[in-house]
Amino acid sequence: MRDGVSPHFAIIYQVSGAVIGELMQTEQDTLKTTPNRLHPKQGEVIDRSTTIRFTFDGVKYIAHPGDTVASALTAAGVKVLSRSFKYHRPRGLLCCAGHCPNCLVQIGDEPNVRACMRSVEAGMDVRAQNVWPSLNRDLLSLTQLGSRLMPVGFYYKTFIRPKKLWPLYEHTLRHAAGLGEVDIDTPSGKFDKQYLHTDVVVVGSGPAGISAALGAAEGGAQVLLFDENSALGGHLRFTVPLHSSLPSQVSKDLPELLEALSQQPNVTAFTDTSVLGWYQDNWLCAAKGARLFKIRTKSVVVATGAYETPLIFDNNDLPGVMLGSAAQRLLHLFGVLPGRQVVIVTANEDGWDVAADLQALGVNVAAIVDEREHNACSSPYRDGLANIGVPVFYRHTIREAIGSSAVSGAKIVRLDGRGEIAPATTQVLQCDLIVTSMGWTPATELLYMAGGKSEYSADRAETVPVSTPPGIYVAGRAAGIHAVDSQITEAWQAGSNAATFAGFGEFDELAAQASDISEPRRTSERVCVPGKKKRFVCYCEDVTDEDVETAIAEGYDSIELLKRYSTISMGPCQGAMCSMNTIHLCARANGRTVQETGTTTARPPIAPVTLGALAGQNVEPVQTTPIHQWHLDHGANMMVAGLWLRPNHYGDPAAEAVCVRKQGGLIDVSPLGKLQLTGPGVPKLLERIYTNQWHNLRVGRVRYGVMCNDEGVVLNDGVCAHLKDETWYMTTTSTGATAVFEWLQWWLQSGWGEGVHLTDLTDTYAAFNLAGPQSRTVLEKLTARNLANKAFPYMRIRSAKIADVPCQLLRIGFTGELAYEVHCPSGYALHVWEALMDVGRELGIAPFGLEAQRILRLEKGHIIVGQDTDAMSDPLSANMAWAVKLNKPDFLGKPSLMRISAEGPKQLLVGFKMVDPDVVPAEGLQVVAPEVDGRLKIIGWVTSSRFSPTLEEAIGLCWLPADLASQNGASFTIRMGGDLKAAHVHHGAFYDPSGERLRM
């Protein structure tokens, strides 16, 4: 066997030779061949009838559909897939299961793709990351020469002084940090989210997961089954022995389970789907490519399996050092030979299984290095492999992987009676592949997130779950069960229990009790073999066992501190490869047990997920008014205002404003909050929530009101009309409509609701404000109602038919002109609007948008709550003292306003004009004044400013110290960039201060 000649081996070359021959005819020079591809075998996932092409770092390779990038490259003999993060050491396939950082590549514009998980697509452009100038000659690997200068935590120590140099450090570090390249010009992809609801979720579809799903479904529960791999079956897909001399029950298990699953309508399976996290009340998050699932379930079965634990020894990161399960995946799923001459380092029967598989395929097994005594090995292949001449070294382990960019040999050593390395026993073996099968780390992240607890079993050198929260169940390797038949029977019960918890069937306490599983030990406590070279604990961040010891010696001796200081387990693998080994090293260095050392906290996401999938679709929901389409058809420039999409202007906002002043204009104010209050208790409620008086408002009248909270801060403003006896109609600001509705609901439901019924009519009614001197003339043509000033004066409400539609008319406005607000049923909005426009057009009326309204209201000095006021503004300071009646009984904010009134406001909101009429200071600019030492002090700020087309000068509102603000005409200074611009205080409205025009 040692010379590699076997019937199987010959077949391999025959098949590969045929493929090579075919390809050489076409692209002899450029296309890479696949010498490591085996002959077809049952269970493989590739489709050999088709060949597709892709490139890796510019070189062309071939693959079959079903190949992953990593399997296709391995078939072609590529060993180095990436460079490590810190030292730029060459790295190759380690886990082949998406759990380590070693095969991260860039594919097109997508960085950090796991090559072992991503299926090859024709024409894929795969590139190595984090290399300069190339993967095979990476000059940045010179950093390891200086590794003595870069001990663990060196970032924290090195780049902090002198502080002045930080920008330089940061610039340089930016180049060294990160792995892939983000192309900021990449168009955003199509991502979406899906919400799922079920009774039981099973995570992981190995024998345990499938069995648990069947057990739960049998009970009648709806089950969702998730697996991160491309097919169901878990380890059964690649652990069925290839060695035909030993027929096994295991080979029948997977087909039987899959058949049972296909017969079970209650189970829905998701492959290629990683469950990322568990959240409160059994809310799970999972990702499948560009789709994010949010799943609500009643119970969960965690059947997530286990990670194979790497062994730490000299050069253990050399390409060609691989986990046993990785070798099995390559062989069974992709028909790819990971090496030609292999040394197997093991401490359990799993390593022997790999050896048997490789031997059956004709690979030269150079040695099996088992740290146990001969009689501790119970592998069924033990004697068979020895008999055909495979060298077996019991009580030995590996000391070093030899090679520069890939494995070319292994140094092994004998262990003495205490398990220490026996001196002068080193032997060198030739090989190109070192497979380690040293044991398993249960994948318990989800269990821990859900609040489950494990204990370390020193007998088995694994953590074993000891308690699970209600509704959470564990099965399979995650529960410490390795034997397939036990996995299937125990998981069935776990699934059944999960269904019972979800409300299906009676709880059978006897059956639900976990039986005692006696498992042979599968995991070694030897995690690290001492040596002289670099030994990596953490592949993601290039942390060695010496770094861990240094960090502990520096005082970072708790596992959580060690993690943060060394960055171990914080890289792409999130601890899958390193957490158990780190805990062992930490325990040993501290002289504590593994159980005492504890674990780090598991947090989502467990598996890598793109930010796009988390973000979802690039959509922002907005509300549109009933005449939205009319605005679009008439050239409106739309803007998002609060939750609404509204016309900002129709081309020229200044002209729209002027038109309102001269003839008139029509604005869509449908987003206004509209609330109907009915009942005998309404006046009392209004007295409590508004700062002014309401009980004396007669039917048919409208009053402006300000709402405050109990801090005396302005919440909202608007008008409220007394429609009839016990019916009132309230409007609120557009942006505050929802908040006011919630606010009123709260007071009504928490004690002030007697005799009041509240209805939200915001969407029921559309509202348009017809403003300007011609507005009465326009409206008169559409209604029979007497609109004469005497019959329908300012601040009144009247019911009227406008263009045959029953409407409410309110004689109010924000513009300072004669104005009518038409509130009509939304369904008739377009009809009413068009009728108003048709009549109005002849009289010079034009539609106007928010910008014109903002100009017009500023000319009148009206404030906008939320723009001119903030979370500190009270109405006494915000120029609304006239709307506050402190002498009325209790109302919201009164006690605070009484106190503010007694002390006197410190800042006031006032109008201002610029000395230079053409200068419009931007909203938000500071008002400054020189201090005694000449330095400028901020004394106020601009909240609103516009160029007034009516007055032909810049005007605005600003907050100023009360003493300054109260002097009409007082000068002050606004800082605009580097310039200081002079302004002066203006009391009262800028336009029509006596308010004659709105009372016309």
Binding site: W283, D710, Q745, W746, P895, R899
Partner: protein
């Protein structure tokens, strides 16, 4: 994601609700409060580590403001119940 039981609608995702803060009634006669009492009502919260009674609003649902008792340390909701005005 937390599940909250709306007294009207049953179990719903917490994203349908708005948190309304600790339960703390408004003083019966606000005009008679001292500065300290008024400031206490406005700004001081017990912020207990343990069972807290708090307001929730089913804002994307039926619109009910109700009370919940929740362990602030574990986020476990003990019960939810409609507010009933106590006798003055």
């Amino acid at each position: 994601m937390l599940l909250l039981t709306c007294p009207n609608c049953g179990d719903r995702n917490v994203s349908e609700f708005r948190f309304g803060g600790e339960y703390g009634p408004r003083p019966k006669d606000p005009s008679a409060t001292s500065d300290a009492e008024w400031a206490n009502y406005l700004y001081m919260r017990h912020n207990v580590m343990g069972a807290q009674t708090e307001w929730w609003h089913h804002s994307d649902g039926c619109g009910l403001w109700f009370l919940a008792e929740r362990y602030t340390r574990t986020n476990e909701v003990i019960k939810t119940f409609p507010y009933v005005k106590r006798d003055a």
